[in-house]
Amino acid sequence: MLTGSKTTFKVRQMVPDVKDRMLSHSGLHTRGREMFGLCCLPGECVLQRAVLVRKKLSAKEGGGWLSGTLFCTHFRVAFVPQDSPKPDDNADPVLLGDHDVALASIEKVVAVGPSRTKLVTPNSSLKFTPEELVLYCRDLRVICFLFDRLTPETQAVEITYTIAKTYQPLKPGTVLSFQNAALGSIEMKQFLSNRRRDPDMNWFESLSDWEQELERVGATGWRVSSVNDRFEMSTSLSRFNVVPQKVLDTELKKTFAHFNEGRIPHWCWRHPRGSDLLRMASFQNNIYHEKDDIRNLELVLFGVQQVCVVVDLGEEMPSTTDIQLAHTRLRALCLGDISASVSVPDDKWLSTLEGTHWLDYIRCCLRKSGEVACLLRGGHLTVVLQEPEDRDMNCVVSSLVQVMCDPHCRTVAGFQALIQKEWIMAGHRFLSRINYHRDSDKEEAPLFLLFLDCVWQLWAQFPSRFQLSGDYLLALHDSLHVPLFSSFLANCQRERSRRSQHLAQSYTPVNGLRELPRGSPQEPCDPPLPPVWDWALQYSSQRRARFTQPVTQPASPPPLLNGNLNTNLDPHRHVDGMAGSVFLLSRGSFSSPSNLLPWRSSAGSASYRKSHRRAPSAEMLPALERLLRACSLSEAGPEPHEPLLPLLLGPCVKVWRDCYLRGALHAQAFTHPMPSSMLHPVDQLSWEVQQLREKLSQASSTSSSSCSSSSSSPTSSRTSSTPHIKLEARCTDSNLNQNANNGTFLFPSSRSTSHQPPPAPRGNAQTTASIKATSRPPTSIANPQPRPTGRDGAKHTFLFGHQPNNRPVQRYIPAPHAKPPRSRSSSSGGSSGIHGNNLQ
């Protein structure tokens, strides 16, 4: 079997046994060709189809059943609802529709007959006509299709066979053929290569990206070093690293050898109060420390601060094996198994859940991150996360700390940048940990899923502090199980960039890419893999509109002067650049063991140690403890940089029901199910608000008097764009506020007004803007109204790199905006973006 192909002919060869049944393929035609109502990707073949199928909808989708047609292509199982709108021929291809499943994310196919159920494998044969088809997915979804009695029996049987034969349970080698099936066609390649990246998100790929981040958080005393540009110093670190300004590249080079895998302490983030967060691997102990080295090491470690706290994540945190085991157990518990009749009795469910330890591990990560956040909050410290390899738990904790402390990281763009920075660029071994190729079973561990769950816990406890929504986290969770995205298909930046280099010169054979099973030498190249952040590839605009929710903006942007809130420096700070005291935070207490820094304990630097270690430690320790303790006592007002400290007691850490329990067949109707015929009150109300605003603006524009400057809701100036754009305007605006400390502040408001349709006088818009800036109460959590400072028109691409439907700016929504219920959320759901089940 060929593992990959460029043209559809090869695809045919790939699945020879279904070749005859291939109903159509659109590869020879233009892309986006429609087949029986299914909008195919270029090169995608419909292998089988069954009519009059009903799909069971999850509670989130409204429950009940949706009838339509079921397709199996060589890339996905697609379901097209009966009354779905005609696909637009000019629309960009979407890899997966709302009701589709990628073949690669299917784990098991089960056919349910009148009296029995059968696990269908490629080799098995069915002795009955299935009434139901159940697809168990790797992302814990369970998708259930019901065949009508009017469905031709052959279709029911055949499509079951076809899915079972093509879904290809992941094994070494099948991933590439799956990628080829999805992205292999020339049209897709072209399409993908022409796709623009999301410009509003920091990708951390270039030097300037890193500098931008330094500027954003106002970190002074740091510089971006490109000493690892060719990955000579450390193969797993990213190309650019942030190091103290004081250290020259030549000096820096000497430090790499002192750390495991050359992962020297590198800067992650600066707290507004001036503390820095760093991460590093463990020290190489068996190395001789020269005096020059020691100076450099200390410089690198302490950064710009005098006090350094090393947080050891090695032994206290669950090991990767623990996490993997817990997740396996959790999966088994939540998914249930239709083929294995053993199930947990209901009255033992909770204790079984406890027995998985998954929640314990979440608690543990959150606790540790909370400790670090409290430390950072104290100011003027360098907190260094240390883990033997610096590639697993360090990612979790460092990114969680930032989610807790930095409101920017709770926006979609900021969160994506965070993952880009702390996971993708920092070299989390996604490929091995996810184990797409089934060749590293021992290394498999869902650390990223653990992280997502931790973020969800934070989100569930403080929903109003996040711009991103539960739907977004869920989408990210699911994307991890589709092996199509470059973000997750490499272990470090080096591998990723080698791959793209190789793509650029596509006719040279691949060398040394051990993670990619190579096809035949003639095989020109792998398909270009998109980043996961290109959400438009996977999710419809309706779904994407739910990724965000309006957030409360702090009344005024935090007064960050150079990112340094704290102006009263400790009086006893050392002037000497060399000195510094080091503490170890371990199990919730501080200590300064003598062997913490190997060079200090070594004989060579004994004199150094004497002079500097003891004295400061004694006086600093209580202060540090107070930092941790004081955090809980302070009246944590809604100050933006107060860390979100999650409650971790038993009842507070919950199961991510929307994710883990959505699939379990028996548990479909969990939280606030919403019939599709009904709007959530939030939606309805926001719809009403919108209508009223329009009326108001209509009234104010027809009347000559501009009496709309009531301070209570300064919205009249902005009511006339379509909801879609409104959403974006809002998001853009929130981003603006977040970026306020960036230096790249403010767009001239004349620019924003110039794009407006002119219901309100121009000057009025500005006054309302100023009113808003000063007197806006911080309580308006759910205000979907756009900010007057928003930029629109020119900048529609804030959220999702590419916006397919650049609708013209409408003045007013026509009142009889009658739409079928399925597509309604593009207008009203999108405008609020909040849905009840986000808030359960």
């Binding site: 409204g62 009940g64 059943w65 009148p114 623990d322 209901d346 469910w349 909770l350 204790s351 859940l353 027995g355 608690r363 543990c364 606790r367 569930a460 403080f462 199990r587 919730g588 207490s589 200590s591 300064s592 403890e625 303790r629 809980s632 400290l645 007691l649 038993g650 009842p651 028996h666 548990a667 109707a669 969990f670 939280t671 606030h672 199910p673 019939p675 015929s677 009904m678 009150p681 939030v682 109300l685 209508q691 009223l692 009326k695 108001l696 104010s700 009347s703 009531s710 209570s712 809701s713 309580t779 959590i781 759910a782 205000n783 009142a815 905006h817 739409k819 309604r824 009840g836 808030l839």
Partner: protein, 762 residues
């Protein structure tokens, strides 16, 4: 090193603690003129004793933080009035008019513990004449915990107040001493806002039967309780029950008489009864039972299924035991206990079995629903008393089948019908009077019902008009001795008590307010919290056809055929469709009363799945989820007083406040439109969304919106607590629980070594 609070008390004054007054300071303070503040007394309330100063701990025992004030015991409550100037509680939006945050109605006291030095001892009676504890710990039935320190109090006062409290809370007393009989508020006009059907007149019953299209016989002969003491004045029996049967039934004091609960639109009905002790050779009782069953069967299609709840559901003792174990996890004297229990939270909750009892009740109700809805057979549920679990099951069945009962008035009418009129022994089950000999009768049956309703509410939130808060308040109101609703064992007792009282008061028959008169407890604003913001009302257009139940018929036809394919299962219900003749033989009869062993799980599984296949209709049949993760802990009720688990901006509050805010904005915009002089806009609210919405949400949060907007961040215990009580535990729990969570016991020993090491380093 950092440590948990357990060692916190040993450390001297932490800078961050609010300074705590030392005993020396007390002495000087006592010189000042003694000003005993009394709480605002209710009409009819009498102060028994009081003591000042008493220290009330606001946190746990270790943090030693407290407020001085006066502890007062009246005939209604134990009250604590702080010495500090009472700042107007602006934060408290949800205020009970009868008793405040620091008041405990006497009936609400669950247990009293005395703190002697370091020991805690349960006080069971006034046996300690001379020795009085230095500390009183009161556990309330609404799960609050109060701790009062008496060490600063005058010895005489302390003794007095302690004995007073113990006496009035723990000693058995007569019903007439209950505060409701002294309470004489001018509640002449009952608030008619909700229009609860009281089921105290024939008219109510006739209406109810009309509404459900039942065709049974209304019995009016019991008006003065001549026939049956236990039964209400009016009740409904199958039409086939004759007057002669009443004479027979009189011998069994009304037991065995099938009392009509509710009629399904298909004609079949639900009946409940108390079991008649059946002896093999006792032909009288057997014949009587046969007649009764026959009568039930004749109601519709000559079919009946019986279900003895005593056999299949846990006994009341088990319920009581389980609940008393369960509540211990939430009655915490100090948060340290709570932190320790944290690690084993889930399994310890599960081990109490309370959640499983809830599940069993829901399961049983589900089975009854299946009989009525799918098989259209009459169902007779029976139980020894016929007024405990029967009430739970019959009310749940009606909630699941009848959308009317999912409204606020509906639920109140249902409780009135099944529980109050139905003769649930509230007095004994709650042991309101603290009779020692009735302690074994105590069982939280009504709470169990509310728990089940909460589970339904949680799972199908938009189907219910009332909110979680309403249920919580209702569960609290059981223990407020002002209302007559939950005070009596039967209607007969109620009537006789209330009328017997009248000569003394000389004001005509005593009129105790019913609990449904919510204005006694809450003002209008607070009452708005009772309404579920996401409730979807049925459209007006549909309301005309609602009562005809026609939609249900069509829905039934649309059931997937697979649901009917299976042969009639052998449920634990005994099929008695056409074998009534055989049944009449006594030998069979007794066998028939035993429920055959069958797997109840499997029986309703299919029915449930068939129901699930249909689109969810909030105004149709509603079935509960019963799986492990679906049955949850009623967080609001159980965790609302525990500061450690309060989340800011979390929980359902976020949704409510968001809704309120949007609503406020709508109104704001409307007002502005109005101000612009465009008259038409005022009445011309935007048309409902153009989507084919079958339902529209109720938008009744009008004044709440203002209130919710005014407070910046609400805790998840809102509305019971809106401002967080600060805990003195570090927010980030450190070493101890974590170490327990996933290290072996062996490692703990090692770790302790490490601790000592670190300390020495420090």
């Amino acid at each position: 090193m950092l440590s948990l609070g357990s060692s916190g008390g040993k450390q001297p004054a932490k800078p961050s603690f609010v300074s705590y007054v030392t005993p020396e300071e007390i002495n000087s303070e006592k010189e000042s003129p003694k000003k005993e503040k009394l709480p605002a007394l209710l009409p009819g309330e009498v102060v028994f004793c009081s003591a000042n100063p008493v220290l009330k701990y606001t946190q746990d025992e270790f943090s030693q933080r407290g407020v001085f004030g006066t502890l007062v015991c009246t005939n209604f409550r134990i009250s604590f009035v702080s010495d500090e100037a009472q700042t107007e509680d602006t934060s408290q939006h949800f205020k009970n008019k009868l008793y405040g945050q620091n008041d405990i109605p006497l009936m609400c006291v669950d247990h009293i513990y005395g703190g002697y030095d370091d020991k805690k001892k349960l006080i069971t009676g006034p046996q300690l004449k001379n020795k009085y504890p230095s500390k009183i710990i009161i556990h309330c039935k609404d799960l609050r915990v109060f701790q009062y320190c008496l060490t600063f109090t005058d010895e005489k006062d302390a003794k007095k107040i302690f004995q007073g409290i113990v006496h009035h809370c723990l000693e058995s007393k007569s019903l007439k001493c209950v505060f409701a009989f002294s309470y004489s508020a001018n509640n002449a006009e009952m608030q008619r806002k909700w229009r609860t059907v009281m089921f105290d007149s024939t008219d109510d019953w006739v209406q109810e039967m009309k509404r459900t299209k039942g065709n049974c016989r209304l019995v009016t002969e019991n008006q003065a309780f001549e026939l049956f003491q236990r039964l209400p004045q009016y009740f409904i029996v199958p039409a086939a029950v004759t007057d002669e049967d009443f004479q027979t039934a009189k011998k069994f004091s009304g037991k065995g008489l099938p009392i009509w609960c509710w009629s399904h639109h298909s004609g079949c009905a639900l009946f409940k009864t108390a079991t008649v002790p059946l002896m093999q050779e006792d032909t009288v009782s057997q014949n009587y039972m046969d007649r009764m069953l026959n009568a039930v069967a004749q109601n519709h299609l000559y079919s009946v299924k019986t279900e003895d709840l005593g056999d299949t559901l846990p006994s009341l003792q088990e319920v009581q035991l389980s609940y008393s174990k369960f509540k211990q996890f939430f009655l915490i004297d100090n948060s340290t206990d709570f932190w320790v229990s944290d690690v084993k939270w889930f399994s310890s909750l599960e081990n109490t079995g309370w959640l499983d009892i809830i599940r069993q009740c829901l399961q049983k109700a589900l089975e009854v629903v299946e009989c009525l809805e799918k098989e259209n057979t009459n169902v007779l549920i029976m139980e020894e008393e016929g007024s405990d679990l029967c009430c739970v099951i019959s009310s749940l069945v009606q909630l699941m089948l009848d959308p009317f009962y999912r409204t606020l008035t509906g639920l109140q009418s249902l409780i009135q019908k099944e529980w109050v009129t139905g003769g649930h022994n509230f007095q004994d089950r709650c042991n309101h009077l603290h009779h020692k000999d009735k302690e074994h009768l105590q069982a939280p049956v009504f709470l169990l019902f509310l728990e089940c309703v909460w589970q339904l509410l949680q799972q199908h939130s938009p189907a219910f008009q009332f909110s979680e808060t309403y249920l919580t308040v209702l569960s609290d109101s059981v223990h407020v001795p002002v209302f007559s609703t939950f005070l009596f064992n039967s209607i007969q007792q109620r009537v006789s008590m209330l009328t017997a009282e009248s000569p003394h008061t000389q004001r005509g028959p005593l009129s105790c307010p019913t609990v449904w008169d919510w204005s006694v407890q809450f003002d209008c604003r607070s009452q708005e919290f009772f309404i579920n913001p996401v409730y979807t009302e049925k459209l007006r257009v549909d309301k005309t056809t609602k009562k005809s139940h026609r939609p249900k018929h069509t829905r039934q036809l649309s059931l997937p055929s697979s649901a009917f394919k299976t042969p009639p299962k052998k449920g634990f219900f005994k099929e008695e469709t056409d074998s009534l003749k055989k049944m009449l033989r006594g030998k069979r009869l007794s066998r028939w009363m035993l429920s055959p062993d069958a797997s109840p799980q499997g029986s309703s599984r299919e029915f449930y799945e068939a129901w699930q296949r249909r689109p969810l209709d909030y105004h149709g049949v509603l079935l509960p989820q019963l799986e492990g993760p679906a049955v949850r802990v009623w967080m609001q009720r159980y965790l609302r007083w525990i500061p450690e688990v309060q989340i800011f901006g979390g929980g359902a509050v976020a949704l409510t406040s968001r809704l309120a805010e949007l609503q406020g904005e709508v109104q704001d915009l409307l007002r502005r439109l109005e101000r612009q002089g465009r008259g038409p806009y005022l009445h011309d609210r935007p048309p409902p969304p153009p989507y084919p919405a079958a339902t529209s949400p109720t938008l009744q949060l009008t004044s709440q919106s203002h209130l919710l907007r005014s407070s910046v961040r609400l805790s998840s215990s809102f509305p019971f607590i809106s401002v967080r009580n600060w805990s003195f535990k570090p927010v980030i729990p450190t070493s101890v629980p974590q170490g327990l969570s996933f290290t072996d016991p062996d490692n703990i020993a090692d770790k302790e070594d490490e601790y000592s090491e670190t300390i020495s380093l420090v």
